[in-house]
Symmetry: C2
Subunit: 123 residues, 2 copies
């Protein structure tokens, strides 16, 4: 009964976090959605920013990421239900509350990643 491989989330919030944002695109999707709802194709296009050398994300992968994010409760899927298909994804309340965290990550990343590592062996 959920003890073999289940890690207590309360004891390990970072593990739960890592699991939630596992995958190459989830964080970027959330960040992309912070400006408002986006359609499937728009998200896909947005994921190409800064990755000109690489191929586009495959539908299989994107679909899975979106589904996982939905099941995590970070985003919400809105199917307009008719042809041609139109589906929008938007941040949920939970997802919006997560944006500042991503912002903190981005801010730190911009400040500390991509610049020379100045070794300091203090003391």
């Amino acid at each position: 009964m959920a003890k073999a491989r289940a890690i207590p989330l309360r004891a390990c919030p970072v593990a739960a976090f890592q699991k939630m944002i596992s995958g190459k695109y989830k964080l970027r999707i959330v960040w992309d959605l912070k400006d408002g709802p986006r359609r499937y194709g728009e998200i896909r296009s947005g994921l190409l920013r800064g990755t000109e050398g690489s191929a586009a994300i495959t539908p299989r992968v994107l679909s899975r990421e979106l589904k996982a994010l939905t099941e995590s409760g970070l985003i919400d899927r809105k199917d307009f239900g008719e042809v041609p298909p139109k589906v929008e994804y938007r941040l949920t309340r939970k997802g919006k509350s997560f944006v500042p965290v991503v912002a903190a990550i981005r801010e730190w990343g911009e400040r500390h990643l991509g610049e020379p590592v100045l070794a300091e062996a203090a003391e």
Copy 2:
């Protein structure tokens, strides 16, 4: 050169972040080290918190994580150089600057993850 699969970090700080903390233990190691230097075995023991059901992290994996963190510039390895072996790991300046980010992650995680019942009434 270095453009084939290299994703511009500046264009994608979250990607760089994810790469940096990829792996199940890196975030927890950093968090563990925030209280001060720790020895290899101590880190290993500390990783067992909340994972009683699972086996301990294998030396191979821990070694790899520590090496990666070192090469990322987040932690520093201090080898006392004599027998019996004694090695301490500590956060670098960069690593320390990263702690608040992990704190933000933890805080968010504690608030939004692992609380199936009575969501935000317990604040």
